[in-house]
Symmetry: C2
Amino acid sequence: MWYYNQLTKTLNVQYPIIQAGMAGSTTPELVASVSNKGALGTIGAGYMSAEKLEEEIQSVQSLTSKPFGVNLFVPGHNDYSPQQVEHMNAWLKPYRRALNLEEPTVNITEEQQFMNAIDIVIKHQVPACCFTFGIPEQNIIKKLKQANIILVGTATTVEEAVENERAGMDVVVAQGSEAGGHRGSFLPHPQQQQALIGTMSLVPQMVDHVSIPVVAAGGIMDGRGIVASLVLGAQGVQMGTAFLTAKESGANSVVKQTILNSVETDTVVTNVFSGKFARGVNNDFVKEMNQYDGEILPYPVQNQLTNSIRKSAASNGNKEWTHIWSGQSPRLATAQHVDQLMDNLVKQVKDLVGIMA
Amino acid sequence: MWYYNQLTKTLNVQYPIIQAGMAGSTTPELVASVSNKGALGTIGAGYMSAEKLEEEIQSVQSLTSKPFGVNLFVPGHNDYSPQQVEHMNAWLKPYRRALNLEEPTVNITEEQQFMNAIDIVIKHQVPACCFTFGIPEQNIIKKLKQANIILVGTATTVEEAVENERAGMDVVVAQGSEAGGHRGSFLPHPQQQQALIGTMSLVPQMVDHVSIPVVAAGGIMDGRGIVASLVLGAQGVQMGTAFLTAKESGANSVVKQTILNSVETDTVVTNVFSGKFARGVNNDFVKEMNQYDGEILPYPVQNQLTNSIRKSAASNGNKEWTHIWSGQSPRLATAQHVDQLMDNLVKQVKDLVGIMA
């Protein structure tokens, strides 16, 4: 059977499909629906407070008894000066004025938030904990392992995958350049730029260098992408954009509609929204902020400074001033319920495997 | 059978594998060996004079009776001023001085060279003619079709593939962002930058929008990449880097060795060598010339200005001052004879198809 392998055994799921933990866009309904259909739903907890995370976990647990995950952002270092914040606030003023918004106060609580999240994940016995932007320290990994929580890391290069395996991750996601949303890169790139390795290149090279199951991510939207990933040596796939436009996703309707109307050439990789590089649909905010290229603040400062602008724009139906994360396959996006989407994926895979035979 | 489809029927080959027409690096031995093993060998004629092309075709024909192709660069417009050439010559002076080289004279004969090549292809009844950088005009397409020559176009976006089909191409290559060497892009990109769509995203979206066979290219180095491409809906693959390091390839040994020693993060997309964007291993020449970003001349002017520097550096074993085209999967490159490489590819595909069954 195409779905019986080390990954499904490790995650204790039927199908080797992970719904990406899209911070800010998952709902308990989305996560539970995915898990109930035999894949791994994931709470995108990157921006969540302890209270919110606890609430979300309990909601998911009330909707499913199947395994699910929580995706967390590993805190990093962020050097910045009050002067830089002042500059950025000046550039953002026109947007705030147009939307009638106050200037926010920067408040970095990343580290504490992350530690709280780990404790909550353990307390509520969340089956899987996924990490983006790096690898947590050994004491955290040990704590989670003692609680029998499965650990899923993210890597954008072979070297990052090797580091994930060495640190004790049970599974590693190979995030190809096609992927929408934040790039999970955490090691310095030799070319002083982003590591943007296509999924077709990344997966086989990564598979050859680690022993833990590799999960392919980036551009995968249907049965073709799933089977292709398995053929490349991945044991499963992680899909973001495909679930972001699902009925149960928490993404704003202007975000969903924009993705559904986009084509493969519409996305760019930009750090202007959050301070970390991410792939999304190009728009006026990106183009205008690109003028201040050297002045973009590190995550999470830039994220906090642009947050209310993006939220307000999205709720006003303004797709030009909010982040619209999408991978490079928006032509394959659909507006289905998770149940339909999952049924279709499984059927497509079955048919394709049948043809290959 | 995995290899019996519209593409192999159209090209009249046994296996749906095209050896990319790598300008400057193919030899009659490489092309004929590939064709003799049942795939489509291709003469990389992008830079060849009429005499050289005629000689190469005759050499290939003396070594094989199987179908092969010729890859041509479709001429474009190139606006530049003598002042710009003067500037570029100033930036290139240190390299020329170090290598003891004269300043070349710019001599644009693209259009004439292309027309001559078409006539030669027809005269010698070359079975397939492949195009990079665009689509030839209708009178040329008609002439080739009347001579029963199979036409293969290159596309880096869905729109470019649709244009290829509309113009009468029999086959279109989907060149993903992972691909080494020149980007075949020819339509203006909406984001004012390069269209770099990963193979995993590009192939299924392209397949959904054209009826002619799609050939996947970019990051494909072994049986895994071939089967994955077929699963995505391609009818075959085009492989460049995999054949560039083969024993029969004409690439300089310093080029081959550098690719064999590279990893997936070592390549960049740059226009400093030829004036057209291409993917290759990053080196000192790229880094230094990036300072003059806005002053790079269009193809073929930049190509002519840097030509002797690159040739001289390569023959001196200097990998820092020559172009080392490579896709994003150099970890999968091998130094085999074409016969071994082809036998391994076919065996890997057979095994993989067997596992899927």
